[in-house]
């Protein structure tokens, strides 16, 4: 931890960032993000396996951008997210200082996204077996059972859009749900509006989701939203061999094609 504190301190001192985003732990043991602007606050930073929140989401925030150069402490999913949003032209290389702790407990500071790409590919997290099992279990149900399952799960959705807000890949200036000419998505949180929203969200994340599971973690109604994106990521991987968050150059299943893509469902 001391090494991390020193690293943050030196980054803030040498001017490579004027804000450093990291985790902190409260006395009650609650993990929250912390925004360090002064070198002497560096000891606030904490890191452990309990640091789940995907801090990459803050990179899009205007008030964070206002700080200019920003440093960020990234867990592996945050790294994947940063790589993906870098590929999607949302980050300037020279405006971000990224730091992580490798599996041996050593601090790693990345000079550029090429290094992040190499690191992420060497330390690629395995798919969450629990999620894969749930997806598998749902897939094995009858169609009607799946429909009932999702209808029931989505019935408590209050459209707070925490799933959207917490996702580093949801950074649109204006979300489709906010388009009202025409009104693509029914905005009320009734059954139709909820299912439309979640289908659209999943479609927009297919092949882009880094599987950090933030959407499910932040859902105040505990809806397992990540299963939708995990399922589509799985489809993108199986059908097109594409995985998000592993490349600094754009690699997106839906913006490219192969002449011999699957076609057995087309008459």
């Amino acid at each position: 931890m001391q090494e991390l504190h020193n690293k943050i301190k030196s980054i803030l001192e040498n001017g490579s960032a004027s804000l450093f985003i990291a985790y902190q732990k409260s006395r009650e043991g609650k993990i929250t993000p912390t925004f360090i602007t002064k070198p002497e606050q560096s000891q606030k930073a904490y890191f452990g396996d309990d640091c789940k929140q995907n801090l990459a989401v803050y990179i899009h925030k205007q008030e964070v951008k206002n700080f200019g150069k920003v440093g960020i402490f990234a867990n592996i999913y945050t790294l994947k997210s940063l790589l993906q949003i870098y590929a999607e032209n949302q980050i300037r290389d020279d405006y971000l200082k990224v730091v992580t702790i490798n599996p041996n407990g050593a601090i790693v500071e990345f000079a550029n996204f090429m290094e992040i790409e190499n690191y992420v590919n060497e330390n690629k997290p395995a798919p969450n077996p629990e999620d894969m099992e749930r997806v598998e279990k749902l897939s094995n149900l009858s169609r009607e059972e799946r429909w009932d399952y999702w209808l029931n799960e989505l019935s408590t959705c209050i459209k707070c859009y925490a799933c959207r807000a917490a996702c580093p890949m949801c950074y649109c200036t204006k979300c489709t749900v906010d388009c009202n000419q025409p009104q693509w998505i029914s905005t009320p949180s009734h059954s139709l509006g909820n299912i439309e929203w979640h289908i659209m969200r999943a479609m927009h994340l297919a092949g882009r989701c880094v599987e950090c599971n933030e959407c499910a973690r932040v859902c105040p109604m505990d809806i397992p939203l990540n299963l939708l994106t995990v399922k589509l990521n799985d489809t993108a991987n199986i059908e097109f061999g594409q995985q998000a968050g592993l490349k600094g150059e754009l690699d997106y299943a839906l913006s490219t094609f192969k002449v011999d893509d699957k076609e057995n469902f087309i008459r």
Partner: protein, 334 residues
């Protein structure tokens, strides 16, 4: 106020009898790890093991989506239909803090220009609170002038006395009517000191210091410091029992349409966004300041009360772990 007792094992019978009169009973039910107010088929579906429900009973009076009216176009002839709300409802198991919130909410919607739908729902609904025996780190009702013993806003307040009976405070006429409908279930009693049966929620900040302090820090950086973590979702507002902002949506096709009232949240980037593209609350810290100012200043100015009841829901759901308690303490200390 009248006081009654109800044998705890008579509760199922109480609900069955209410249902027989044609009323709908909503009680706490578990879905996953969360507890919701919902209808139930059998008593054992009811969950009694919860500190707080995921959503407040606000949604019974002010649903997250409600129809204001529908219209039809029959070849150029338009007809409008307003909803008729006749369904009578009994809500069981809300916490006393939620009662305080309902009182505020009704004050907000029914003073001056009463909202007909909300008025109808209020008239048709009886709220039974169940006083808290437990609390968690996020509960702070005692800091905002309330407590687990509060009865304001409840029609009936139940306290489990730990002796096989509920102590029932009959707070309103509506509550009285419900009790009177089943005289064989309820026994008369005198006022009892229930406090030692209840959760002892610690006081975290001094409201009387805080309220005058808040407007003085309006122009400071404190809001940015507090809200840098905010990711701009609407969870806090949607779980809040007093948040009353809404948005009106029309859903229509050339032949028919419906006008809906939906919850809105001050945390959204589109909140108060003008058609011109200008937003007076341009960044998240402005919106966060508005939220806190609304709860602890504007509603004091406009309605002579703060509009936070200390239920702690916003803290529990915040994806970024923001705590209104900590933020209010930091304002108090500023």
């Amino acid at each position: 106020m009248n006081y009654k007792t109800l044998n705890t094992n008579k509760l199922p019978e109480f609900f069955e009898k209410i249902k027989k009169t044609g009323k709908t009973v909503l009680a706490p039910r578990k879905k996953g790890n969360k507890t919701f107010f919902a209808t139930f088929d059998s008593f054992d579906q009811i969950n009694f093991d919860y500190v707080q429900t995921a959503l407040s009973p606000k949604s019974v009076l002010f649903p997250r989506v409600e129809e204001l009216f529908t219209y039809k176009n029959d070849d150029g002839t338009y007809s409008v239909k307003e909803p008729e709300l006749k369904n009578e409802v009994v809500v069981f198991g809300m916490r006393p803090c939620d009662g305080v919130a309902l009182d505020y909410l009704c004050d907000f919607f029914l003073n001056e220009n009463p909202d007909k739908l909300l008025q109808d729902r209020k008239n048709n609904t009886t709220f039974i609170s169940l006083a808290c025996k437990s609390f968690d780190n996020d509960c702070f009702c005692t800091s905002v002038g309330s407590s687990p013993a509060e009865t304001l806003g409840s029609d009936l307040c139940f306290t489990d006395m730990g002796n096989g009976s509920y102590y029932v405070e009959v707070v309103t006429d509506k509550g009285q009517k419900l009790v009177d409908a089943f005289p064989d279930l309820f026994a008369d009693t005198k006022e009892i000191n229930k406090v030692e049966q209840l959760a002892q929620v610690p006081v975290r900040f001094e409201l009387k210091n805080l309220v005058p302090k808040i407007p003085t820090v309006f122009e400071t950086n404190i809001w940015l410091d507090q809200s840098l973590a905010c990711i701009g979702c609407g969870a806090c507002a949607y779980v809040c029992p007093t948040c009353s902002c809404f948005d009106v949506q029309d859903e229509c096709n050339p032949k028919a349409g419906t006008r809906l009232r939906c919850w809105d949240s001050c945390a959204f980037g589109q909140f108060t966004l003008h058609a011109s593209g200008h937003n007076p609350r341009e960044v998240q810290s402005n919106r966060w300041r508005n939220r806190v100012m609304h709860k602890f200043n504007y509603s004091v100015q406009n309605m002579n009360t703060i509009s936070c009841v200390g239920c702690g829901r916003c803290i529990r759901v915040c994806p970024a772990g923001m705590s209104i308690i900590e933020h209010l303490i930091s304002v108090e200390e500023a």
